[in-house]
Symmetry: C2
Subunit: 346 residues, 2 copies
Amino acid sequence: MTSLRDSINEELKTFTRIQQVALEGIGAELAPVARAMEQFIVDGGKRLRPIFAYLGYLGSGGKPRSEIVKAVTSLELVHVCALIHDDVMDGSDLRRNRPAIHRQFEKLHRDHSYHGEPSKFGIAAAILLGDLALVWSDRVLRDSGITESELHRALPVFNEMRDELMAGQYLDVLEGALASSSVARSLKVARFKSGKYSIERPLHFGGALVGASVDILNSYSSFGLPLGEAFQLRDDILGVFGDPGLTGKPAGDDLREGKRTVLIAMAYEGATNSQTQELNRGLGASDVDVEKLREIIVNTGALARCEEMIESLRNDALTSLHSSAINLEIRRTLEEMALIATERVK
Amino acid sequence: MTSLRDSINEELKTFTRIQQVALEGIGAELAPVARAMEQFIVDGGKRLRPIFAYLGYLGSGGKPRSEIVKAVTSLELVHVCALIHDDVMDGSDLRRNRPAIHRQFEKLHRDHSYHGEPSKFGIAAAILLGDLALVWSDRVLRDSGITESELHRALPVFNEMRDELMAGQYLDVLEGALASSSVARSLKVARFKSGKYSIERPLHFGGALVGASVDILNSYSSFGLPLGEAFQLRDDILGVFGDPGLTGKPAGDDLREGKRTVLIAMAYEGATNSQTQELNRGLGASDVDVEKLREIIVNTGALARCEEMIESLRNDALTSLHSSAINLEIRRTLEEMALIATERVK
């Protein structure tokens, strides 16, 4: 895994440098855009989606090729768009221990005493940088050197995945606006937002590059869907209990943003009247008492229930993996990745 | 032209309906997203970019084919993304005589008494709908039925165009923040934002589908670049003097938004001290005296100078068209389109 991740990082670095030169060629004024893109793309992330895509390719009988490594990095760029736009929508200040992109450009505006509102400038820049990442995701795929037929097979999955991502993000935003506390509804959002997008679709993308059989694609779904949900539930827990040093976000950030996750819906289900009032008061409030809400989430049994659900979903994923026709060596690697994607907070 | 525009509209309608069903399949909650996308895409616009792309295809010797009509509609969807995101960035209320997308979702939030800030919800939805349009632009291209080689040739131009668009938009936002009044700088922004994106690149896109010669591609540039700039200057004039019934925006909207266009830069160049003060006071102010600023723009000679520049750029475009190797019949149509793209306000 380490060496694959290194190769993916290397490809992202090379690609970003080329784009950086191209942007600065359009105008020196674009240097801050180029720098911010480079830093955001090169610095971060576990590269889960490209790794799963590459494994999806190998697992369907594909032979290791550097063009495929390039092609799968496209998924990371889609993710970069999602993160940059997500931070604007959530009004997040931090990402990966650095100011979010919209905050970086807000600061640029202030530092240069530009005209107009700094926050408006920051948001405009972040919208455009996210758009740029989405366009770059196409570019890196087209320029990866894969064959015309590989490209033609991969594009429908690629587009489907991005449609589902945007739809899932909308459902997520809507969920916050509905202030819903239904476990079933939150699970549906988790399924679209992450279940399909983070693991199943990347595996399918890799499979499409080889022209994998329906059998293999189905195995990818029965492994990837439950694992993707487990991954999202782990992310929900990290958003409340995670160590800022590891999550790159302030402690309890999801509570402050009032995110309606499965974990929160479970807390509401198990809450007494007074705990419900505390949850209502705290969620989405800038002065939320993080410790207090954490306690409620533990005491209502929501944390334990969420951990159980993660374990059960992961077990489903692993069971179906063992009975699949996926190449044996790749099955072992997928098992390892399943643990990495859902491991407990250290 | 009319029949080509009708065919493009027909393709956009069919495509959008299919996407609408797909979105509603993900969840009934997505119905407002599907409806807003459909209305925005189907209702509007002159379809200049798809038309130029189709002419670029025919002008390089391509034979009329319905797959190509489908493929060129992808450019309209890129434009839809640009408009939706642009309205968020500019904080515009109206687009094509309807509330801008972010305002529509702000209203949805209010009508349903959702939790949280309506404006935040509106912006989040508009960011996602714009992203969706960008993803759909790829989808319609891939699914158009063009051959693998046509797709492989068209994609680099397609990606280049979208990169330039985002870069141009950033320069435009930056120009507002710098409150610059240099004609040279504003012209550079006009070149990137519109010169390349609106006409030259669509022509190249059409040419790439056929595998046009470098000669033809160069002719497209020497026709498309000056014409694109002229088109942007016409747009600048419409933004100040245009009839709201035709522009779909309130009278003098660009003045209220404080846009730093070539027209405004020319007004500054020709302004007396007191006129400069009036411009400084009015531009970007919500209570701007539109009539007063229009008068200044006329009295400084900026309007006449801008009209002259449009005429001169259009003449450059037409002159280079006449000496080109582009198919004669298509040359005539391009000439007609040049007049449509730059015609005076009625």
